[in-house]
């Protein structure tokens, strides 16, 4: 990002923290957690600790960092080097990324960029740049409402697993929009807190069906008392449409009989299908690594300028592209030169697609496009007087 754009984005972040920073709540056991932040210029600062949330608020006002993070783990000494921290426990965390769901709309809104010759186009990244044949191609993925909807579906499936299979109380499950292209699910308090990496890998494998043995199809008769993946398989077979590619008959019982006669090849095909349609596509690395720090809720995502925000009880009613806008102020406008940007929807309006053109847009839309790497600010055209007014009004 060029210097001017950085300054404008940083000002926007500062305004957000000034007006709404108080929304950032203290995590439990704050003194046992590791914090970190990413300045707009420079490297990530880690291994910080705060006695109370006030100290963090002060830092945000002073630094207006690009990202603010907090560990899901608690430690005896959060400021020590990683191996000396003395790990205590960690909330179970799941990350669902819309991009990984590979929705068909990706080829409409994704962009690739050649680092060699600078060529940029809409569509999926080719293997080589057609102009200069370089393979140093950058992919810029954008999450459209459809992608985010798919991520939401995946999140709901995850929640069903957590509640039904793992018996986790729904009051302990918190769902957050990441501020970019996905959802974060965190289980605050549970018997899983003290699980180590390997134990967490088992949980992740259960969700992604990694290591699911095909023997599960053949071992015994499916019973109503079945649990776990066997229950899911039984339910899946029962709910398949009357005409289905894997089975000749339409009756549940007959299908089970057919299943027991499946050839090796058929078993394999069916297993793949079963897993694709029933597992949860989480990023297993995020769940198994207990040394991560995560963007804090109510702080801004530097990849979009949107807020990481808790979705509330009704995930279905949460519209991230409306509800996660940091400072939605129609008065504040900006002039930006857009390199390339697909059609986007933000705050109930749609913009673009744009390619190599100058545009006047609301500041939050400008911040979004520039943060995404789709362009740069020419000026922050906001009426400076009126902006100051807003700020001083709040102060008063």
């Amino acid at each position: 990002m060029d210097e001017n754009s950085t300054q404008i984005v940083k000002r926007y972040f500062k305004e957000y923290y000034f007006r709404f920073g108080a929304r950032i709540k203290s995590p439990s056991e704050i003194e046992s957690r590791e914090f970190g932040y990413l300045p707009f210029a420079g490297m990530m600062v880690r291994h910080l600790s705060f006695k109370d949330i006030g100290a963090l608020h002060a830092l945000l006002l002073k630094e207006a960092p690009a990202g603010v993070y907090c560990s899901n783990s608690t430690y005896e000494d959060p400021t020590a080097e990683m191996y000396l921290k003395n790990w205590k426990k960690a909330a179970l965390i799941f990350d669902i990324d819309a991009d990984a769901l590979k929705q068909p709309c990706k080829k409409v809104h994704d962009i690739w960029l050649c680092k060699e010759c600078g060529r940029k186009e809409f569509g999926l990244r080719p293997e080589f740049c057609p102009s200069c044949k370089s393979n140093r191609l950058l992919e810029l993925s954008w999450a459209c409402p459809m992608c985010l909807e798919a991520a939401k579906k995946e999140t709901n499936r995850l929640i069903e697993f957590l509640e039904f299979d793992f018996g986790i109380e729904s009051s302990e499950i918190k769902v957050y929009f990441s501020g970019n292209a996905g959802y974060h699910v965190s289980v605050e308090k549970s018997s899983f807190d003290t699980l180590d990496t390997r134990g967490r890998a088992e949980i992740a494998d259960y969700l992604t069906a990694r290591g699911l043995s095909s023997k599960i199809l053949s071992s015994q008769k499916f019973l109503p008392t079945d649990a776990g993946w066997r229950r899911r398989i039984a339910k899946y077979i029962r709910n398949l449409p009357e005409i289905d590619q894997s089975f000749k008959s339409s009756q549940y019982e007959d299908r089970l009989f057919e299943l027991s006669k499946f050839s090796k090849k058929e078993v394999e095909t069916f297993m793949n299908r079963l897993i694709a349609e029933n597992s949860v596509r989480i990023d297993a690395m995020v769940t198994t690594d207990v040394h991560r720090i995560f963007r804090m809720p109510e702080t801004l995502n530097n990849k979009t300028g949107l807020v990481k925000r808790e979705c509330g009880k009704e995930l279905a009613n949460f519209d991230p592209l409306r509800e996660a806008i940091a400072v939605q102020d129609g008065e504040q406008r900006s002039r930006i030169f857009v390199d390339i940007c697909p059609k986007i929807e933000l705050g109930g309006e749609s913009y673009g697609p744009f390619k190599s053109e100058t545009r006047d847009l609301p500041l939050y839309v400008g911040v979004y496009i520039v943060s995404k790497g789709g362009g740069k600010f020419l000026s922050e055209q906001s009426n400076v007087a009126s902006q100051n007014e807003i700020v001083s009004n709040r102060r008063a």
Partner: protein, 401 residues
């Protein structure tokens, strides 16, 4: 629930046995008296069985096997004596083993006793536990292992139990067969449903570790009466030789080292502080893939306070060239995880227990199944690890019987 003396005879590692022995006020010197002949004889026999059969038998006092077949299946022996003999002989066996000062015998004995306990916990004359047995088993799980086990009713079927998912996963993630993976288990509402065999198998390692720990913590150098010292001498003669460690050396390229080792090397390269465990891992790992002491020493930075000789001495020590002359083993993934020095690769570290099992390029295409199958190139093939492998297989046999 109180354990009865039959329970204590079956499971003499229970903390209650200590109490019991204390109450009886038996002093070590009393063991030379002929009153304890039978107890001492059984104590010796326990250790001998461990050496010869790798498993301690269990006489039953209150019940005889009904058929020959059952006798074989349960490994029952004719009754040697009452429950008290069975119970009191255990601490004496521990004292005997401790007095041999043979670490590998301690391992053999712990495992052999654990197998006995597992069999007892698993077996029952019928397909269901009798009420009293059930009570004992549930109490042991709760009190000794801290697991809330509940019975799970499936009509007209054998015993089923539920174990909280977290308790299950903490233990089962060490096992490598696919049927132990959580994904292949019936899981519902935070519980895993297990049959009797698997339930007990879940804590087999812990029983072994518990007995091993007890041996470790026993004061050494306790003066034993003459008759026991004679037995100790006999046992020492019988004990298998201490395992040597013929390491198979296979060259592995640095980029194919496991993530934890790479991390340690990385940190050293960057001049950052590497915690004790990281250094230990790096040195033992590199030694077992065939690096020389000098190679390894040269990887440590020449920091101002760096004392080349100290490092050299330490590495030589780990290599078994000094001091105790035992070559140190590469720490297990478990241990590294508890010391927060695991940087697991979710694909390549899948289902491995030692950094030595991390797939090097040559066989990185191998399937999950073969990853789970014990030995890897470069793995230390000491007799000890062999016998552990054997014992693992034995466990499996027990549960699949």
């Amino acid at each position: 629930m109180e354990f009865g003396s039959d329970d204590l005879a079956k499971y003499p590692f229970l903390p209650d046995v200590g109490e019991f022995v204390k109450e009886m006020e038996i002093s070590v010197s009393a063991l030379s008296s002929s009153d304890y002949d039978k107890v001492v004889r059984r104590a010796e026999e326990r250790v001998v069985e461990a050496i010869q059969k790798r498993e301690v038998s269990y006489p039953i006092s209150d019940r005889q096997p009904k058929t020959e077949d059952e006798k074989v299946r349960l490994g029952l022996r004719p009754m040697v004596g009452g429950a008290q003999i069975e119970m009191l002989s255990f601490p004496i066996s521990l004292a005997l083993v401790k007095a041999t000062k043979l670490d590998h015998l301690a391992n053999i004995y712990s495992l052999a006793e654990a197998k006995r306990a597992v069999k007892l916990l698993q077996s029952s004359q019928s397909s269901r536990y009798a009420d009293h047995e059930l009570g004992t088993v549930l109490t042991i799980f709760r009190r000794v292992f801290g697991i809330r086990v509940e019975t799970f009713k499936v009509e007209h079927r054998d015993d089923y139990f539920t174990v909280p998912v977290a308790d299950y996963v903490k233990r089962a993630s060490k096992f490598h067969k696919e049927e132990w993976k959580l994904v292949n288990k019936p899981v519902t509402r935070g519980k895993v449903i297990l049959d009797r065999q698997d339930l007990v198998r879940l804590v087999g390692d812990e029983i072994e570790a518990m007995i091993g720990q007890r041996l470790k913590l026993m004061p050494s150098g306790t003066k034993l009466p003459d008759n026991l010292q004679e037995i100790v001498k006999k046992i020492v003669r019988m004990a298998p030789p201490e395992p040597q460690s013929p390491y198979t050396i296979i060259h592995i390229a640095p980029e194919n080292y496991p993530p934890c080792v790479r991390r340690a090397i990385d940190l050293l390269d960057k001049g950052e502080n590497v915690p004790h465990y990281g250094r230990f891992l790096m040195a033992t790992y590199l030694l077992s893939v065939g690096k020389s002491v000098d190679d390894i020493v040269s990887m440590f930075p020449k920091a101002p306070d760096f004392k080349q000789n100290v490092t050299k001495y330490q590495v030589e020590h780990l290599a078994g060239l000094r001091g105790s002359k035992t070559r140190y083993r590469v720490p297990s993934c478990r241990t590294l995880q508890t010391h927060q020095f695991c940087f697991m690769d979710p694909v390549k570290c899948h289902q491995i227990t030692s950094p030595l099992q991390y797939p090097s390029r040559k066989n990185s295409g191998s399937t999950q199944e073969s990853l789970g199958k014990n030995s890897r190139p470069g793995e230390a093939k000491s007799n000890a690890s062999e016998s552990r492998k054997r014992s693992k297989r034995d466990w499996m046999k027990i549960q699949h019987r």
